[in-house]
């Protein structure tokens, strides 16, 4: 299938909301039929003796205003495994209604009660997603630089991922939204924005219907089980310099690069393998077709081995385990904590580039000095 055909299919899927034949009493709808007397909505004003204005019937708007099917909502709940947690379809309907839909609904159905939107749920869910993602990434990768941690959180629970997850769950036919253009007071609402609000709202719905532990389990199942490439997010302007400063901050011997293996030095395709050592300990290894390239890669490898050290999944402890596992919000839930949590010992953090503004920074770092002073004190006592 070519690009144009794929695009047509995805556009058609986006426009075709789940208008179920069982929900429609009369088809085609009266508004679609020709003649001003046939239309009963507010598109035409009071009938006048002069030839009436032509009525415009928009099929997309009509489809968007149809009520969603209970069967579609119920199957959606079962598909994402929330059948026991979220028992009513009204909650899911609220979670799938973007606030941009409300003005459209009010305009076409002025007498009916306004449906609930997912604005508050999405905001609460966004905070919960940020909480769970940050604690998980920090606990799994304790030495990750701060900016990389923030980028990883965006990759796990950011707007693009939320939109993808909503599509993969099958929420596209359930979404009720309205495309709104950019205004001076409010940014545009696009399909991806509306779709992204659904998983956030679902997280908040799980928290409200059950507990924080249940919401955390939901987030771990759908968001944090996905693959994120952290290696590509860690970039170095000068890895040799960064490694030198990092090693100095941790109070180790300065790094020395040594040529480990080489082949084809004067040929068209040389290969050099360089290792970087701090004293007798090898920090990293890199290959390249020139000595400089191999040294660059070795420095990068050493830094990546430090930053990407990973806690094994069975040893990961999360601070939100201290909340109780009982039903209810965090203030009212009763019961024992989900699990235990002992915070990791703090060591020196990452080296900051261009930190000329920070005076009084001493090398090695403060925590490394504290540890070495304690060790020296113990040696003196002995």
């Amino acid at each position: 299938m070519g690009h144009a055909q794929r695009r047509l299919v995805s556009t058609a899927a986006r426009l075709a909301t789940s208008v179920h034949a069982s929900n429609i009493k009369v088809f085609p709808p009266r508004e679609a039929l020709a003649g001003p007397s046939a239309s009963s909505n507010t598109k035409t004003k009071t009938p006048s003796p002069t030839p009436s204005k032509p009525t415009f019937f928009s099929a997309e708007t009509w489809a968007a205003l149809q009520p969603p099917s209970t069967a579609a909502l119920s199957t959606f709940i079962h598909r994402i495994g929330l059948a026991t947690t979220v028992t009513s379809t009204d909650v899911i309907q609220q979670a799938c209604t973007h606030p941009s839909y409300i003005p459209l609904f009010e305009h076409h159905n002025p007498k009916e009660p306004v449906p609930a939107s997912n604005a508050n749920l999405a905001a609460l869910g966004n905070s919960l997603l940020g909480l769970f993602a940050t604690e998980y990434v920090n606990a799994t990768f304790p030495h990750l630089p701060t900016r990389v941690l923030k980028a990883a959180v965006s990759a796990y629970v950011g707007p693009t991922t939320c939109a993808h997850i909503a599509t993969e769950m099958g929420a596209q036919p359930l979404l009720r939204w309205n495309r709104t253009p950019n205004t001076p007071t409010r940014p545009a609402v696009l399909h991806a924005d509306a779709m992204a609000s659904i998983p956030r709202a679902l997280t908040a719905a799980v928290y409200q219907q059950h507990s924080l532990a249940a919401a955390r389990k939901f987030v771990h199942r759908f968001f944090l089980s996905r693959d994120v490439d952290l290696r590509s997010m860690i970039k170095f302007r000068d890895p040799k310099l960064a490694l030198r400063e990092t090693v100095a901050k941790f109070g180790r011997e300065r790094p020395v690069s040594r040529l480990l293996k080489e082949t084809g030095r004067y040929s068209l395709t040389p290969v050099f393998v360089v290792g970087i050592y701090s004293g007798a300990e090898k920090l990293g290894e890199g290959f390249g077709s020139s000595l400089k390239m191999a040294e660059f890669r070795a420095a990068e490898d050493s830094l990546l081995r430090l930053y990407l050290t990973r806690q094994p999944p069975h040893l990961v402890q999360l601070p939100s385990s201290t909340f109780s596992s009982g039903v209810g919000d965090i203030f009212t839930a009763k019961g024992n904590a989900v699990g235990s949590y002992t915070p990791g010992t703090m060591a020196d953090s990452e080296v900051l580039y261009g930190s000329s503004g920070k005076t009084g920074l001493r090398v090695p770092g403060a925590r490394t000095r504290a540890v070495t002073e304690v060790e020296e004190g113990l040696e003196e006592l002995q």
Binding site: T75, G170, D227, R237
Partner: protein, 148 residues
């Protein structure tokens, strides 16, 4: 020497960062969302389908609460079953010529499918998102360096 104005590394735009799907690693989202069974009320070719719908369809629907089951009229035509999937594709399976258990097997085939196009698997080599467990062989990292 890079100029001061140009960044040495390309910046990451955080709003565009995303993760790759891993359906089944922890949670599994079934890919079929709706099954539509269309049959004729009068023709004999739909007789077994009618029997299936009257006797067994409710049990199948109860066993698969994540799937919508729709029964539709298809007058004076052969019976079919349509499956709709989350990748916006559909699968149409003819049901004439089968016994009731054959029809049950075809419905189960629709329920088990992912909706993806059928690809020949014989010629495909290993496809994986993770790197190899033992690493790629290097002639320089063995006891005796490999000489061509």
């Amino acid at each position: 020497m890079a100029s001061a104005t140009k960044a040495a590394t390309r910046p990451l735009l955080r709003a565009s960062l995303s993760s790759s799907p891993a359906n089944g690693h922890v949670a599994f989202i079934p890919q079929v969302r709706k099954v539509v069974i269309e049959y004729c009320d009068s023709w004999a070719s739909s007789a077994n389908t009618r029997t299936f719908v009257h006797n067994h369809l409710e049990n199948v629907a109860r066993a698969n609460p994540h799937v919508e089951f729709v029964v539709k009229q298809r007058t004076h035509k052969e019976p079919i079953a349509r499956g709709f999937y989350l990748n916006n594709r559909d699968k149409v399976v003819p049901l004439h010529g089968f016994e009731v258990n054959g029809i049950a097997n075809k419905i189960q085939l629709i329920l088990d499918s992912s909706g993806a196009k059928i690809k020949p698997l014989k010629r495909r080599t290993v496809e994986s998102t993770t790197e190899s467990a033992r690493g790629i062989w290097s002639g320089l990292h063995v006891d005796e360096p490999f000489k061509i």
